[in-house]
């Protein structure tokens, strides 16, 4: 075993890359949940985004078109969820599960011809001057555009929820949809928009996985990343910056276990591979144990069906 093969600078740099897919998906889901909707279909939207982005990028030769297509595909899929839960008032848990199952099937259907294909490379964005700083440069300033997009998105969501009127209305809808409705806000319309935002983010996260992080298409490649994103939102107590923290913590664990696998640690590969999932469980337990029962941070209307009688 050779720990010296693990370069801490490289480790921290790959941490940011490894965290980006779940960060994107989680920040989208955070907005959805803030609007009072629980969409368990993140995994399905992610993997659909992964393959749609991959396919478009390969066909067009342009990774940016791929990313846009992935966001659109995620949003389109989330529209099914929005229509079912908001218009036809279906159970959100069941519908989200259906979305995940459907997305997994659909993606491997679309992805059949793309197995083993190499996607066009995404350009790196070395920020001038900053990227030349020793140690900090390679860690923070030599990534592809999407890493910075994801960070900007977190800041934007934080600002939107905290400082804008629209954000306030969205939170009101999530806390008490009946009261928001009585005040004249269009609960269903607001939720539609939030769900589509979440879908687009999940799609982007998936495409980041297939186009930049891996980069390749394999069936079921998200391997629970969507579910981990859902767990992150709970971990973050529905706060944007904590989503960032959680995603990077999680990315760190993933990268570390991959590095340990490569370094040939005496622990079997399978036990290292399962560690991110176990850590997620432990974190969830810690969060729920600390708060006790009745999670006060969750939006009060989360997961409840809204039906306006008048």
């Amino acid at each position: 075993m050779d720990y010296s093969a693990i370069d801490p600078v490289l480790l921290l740099a790959t941490l940011m890359i490894s965290a980006t897919p779940i960060l994107l998906a989680a920040i989208g889901e955070l907005v959805v949940e803030k609007a009072g909707v629980l969409n368990l279909g993140v995994e399905g939207m992610m993997i659909t985004g992964a393959i749609c982005g991959f396919a478009i990028a390969v066909e067009s030769g342009n990774p940016f078109l791929g990313l846009i297509a992935a966001a659109l595909a995620g949003a389109a899929l989330s529209l099914i969820f929005a229509f079912l839960t908001q218009v036809l008032l279906s159970n959100q848990v069941a519908t989200g599960l259906a979305l995940t199952l459907f997305g997994l099937g659909l993606s491997s259907l679309i992805g059949k011809p793309y197995a083993g294909v190499k996607p066009p490379a995404s350009p790196h964005l070395d920020i001038p001057l900053l990227s030349d700083i020793p140690v900090l440069g390679p860690i923070f300033f030599r990534h592809d555009l999407m890493v910075y997009v994801s960070l900007t998105l977190v800041a934007a969501v934080w600002f939107f929820l905290k400082y804008t009127r629209a954000g306030l209305i969205l939170r009101a809808v999530g806390e008490n949809h009946d009261a928001a409705h009585a005040l004249g806000y269009k609960v269903v319309r607001i939720r539609f928009l939030a769900i589509m935002f979440g879908g687009a983010c999940a799609g982007l996260g998936g495409a980041y996985l297939s186009l930049i992080r891996v980069p390749q298409w394999t069936e079921g490649m998200t391997a629970g990343a969507g579910w981990i994103a859902l767990a992150l939102v709970v971990f973050a107590s529905w706060r944007p910056w904590r989503v960032l923290l959680g995603a990077y913590l999680f990315g760190g664990i993933t990268v570390l276990q991959l590095n340990l696998q490569a370094a040939g640690l005496a622990i079997p590969v399978e036990y290292l591979s399962m560690s991110p999932y176990i850590v997620t469980i432990l974190v969830l337990v810690y969060i729920s144990a600390r708060k006790g029962r009745g999670n006060l941070d969750a939006p009060a209307s989360l997961g409840r069906t809204f039906h306006a009688a008048h």
Partner: protein
């Protein structure tokens, strides 16, 4: 304008009609999907729904439908209890794997001994494996209030890694020429899960599934526990005032569904799959969620829904062979079925009314 008006009582007619309508709509939408893929939609739908039952080789396919249906029914019956009470075990796939591992390991420990007691012991161990795996989310939820959806799902990935580890490690067949996977449990007479009537596809897992359907029906209609489960789902507050202990219900529902999923895994690994290998599990734990909903969370409905989904699994296999449809298309098809079902469900609880714009 059209508005939805809540029914005072859910419509029994619609509750029964929606699964059928959903199947028909899925056939139409699925046909459209296959047309998009450049396949003849009529032939594709016929291959999936008709050929397994009435084609030239139907004598073989029919037993295969049952073989696919048993694990789905067994798992879905367990899941339906929890779903009724608002307890979401979506990690049945993990419990299925752990049941197969523990049950299989007991069988392998006795190899090559012969004895009538080996298979029953394996069945017990299989149920126990699933039960214990389901107890993790159950206890975490009752002790700490941790979300059981996420925990049970995460444990699927953990179980898959354990499966891979044992197939390459302690349970690997020493005479397997280095290939991953255990000894073949179906070839080992003491642990083989054979057809009860040769060639029908009715193996011990089928008997267990039918028994589970009957017991669940009795539980839900005749027993106080079934009443409490239904009450907790439909009126949680009333249930609490009525003295229902929610923690106990979580433990029972997750425990029962875990044990049944573990049993399904054991019967699969000793029968159709034959051996523990890194990919012996085929996603039955997830498909069973669709079966549970399609069957209206009712034991008899689940029996029928399990047979239908078993049919689509076999039909999907034929379509893959004869028409070159990708194996995954059937998964998309099943997901669609659940969408249509959930969409049509609105008519069970609401009625469409035409109402003039009111000015209040």
């Amino acid at each position: 304008m059209l508005v939805l008006e809540k029914r005072k009582v859910p419509s029994r007619f619609w509750a029964r009609a929606t699964p059928l309508l959903a199947v028909i709509l899925t056939m139409l939408a699925g046909g459209a999907l296959f047309a998009l893929l450049g396949k003849d939609p009529v032939e594709a739908v016929r291959t999936i729904f008709w050929d397994p039952l009435f084609s030239e080789f139907a004598f073989y396919y029919r037993s295969q439908i049952l073989v696919k249906a048993w694990p789905l029914i067994l798992i879905a019956v367990g899941l339906s209890l929890g779903f009724r009470a608002g307890i979401w075990n979506i990690g049945a796939e993990g419990q299925y794997i752990m049941g197969a591992i523990l049950g299989g390991a007991v069988g392998l420990a006795f190899y090559p001994a012969q004895g009538w007691y080996i298979f029953p012991l394996m069945i017990l161990a299989g149920a126990l494996g699933g039960l214990l795996w389901a107890m993790i989310p159950a206890i975490l939820r009752t002790k700490f209030g941790t979300n059981e959806i996420l925990v049970s799902l995460m444990l699927v990935y953990v179980a898959e890694n354990i499966l891979s580890s044992v197939s390459f490690g302690i349970l690997k067949n020493p005479q397997g020429f280095g290939f991953p996977g255990s000894r073949n449990l179906n070839d080992y007479a003491a642990s083989a899960n054979m057809d009860l009537i040769e060639g029908t596809g009715l193996h011990w897992g089928g008997a267990a599934a039918l028994l589970a359907v009957m017991l669940a029906w009795g539980l839900l209609t005749r027993h106080i526990l079934g009443y409490r489960i239904r009450l907790s789902g439909e009126a949680p507050r009333a249930a609490r005032f009525g003295g229902v202990d929610p923690d106990r219900l979580v433990l029972i529902c997750l425990g029962v569904s875990g044990a049944l999923a573990g049993l399904a895994g054991l019967f699969e690994v000793t029968g159709p799959a034959g051996q523990l290998s890194p990919d012996f599990n085929m996603g039955y734990g997830f498909t069973a969620i669709i079966v549970a909903f399609l069957g209206r969370l009712h034991p008899i409905g689940i029996l029928l829904a399990g047979l239908l989904l078993g049919l689509t699994e076999v039909g999907g296999g034929i379509a893959q062979q004869n028409l070159g449809l990708p194996a995954a298309s059937i998964k998309a098809f099943q997901g669609m079925l659940l969408f249509f079902l959930l969409a049509m469900d609105v008519f069970t609880d609401y009625r469409l009314r035409f109402r003039r714009e009111e000015t209040i």
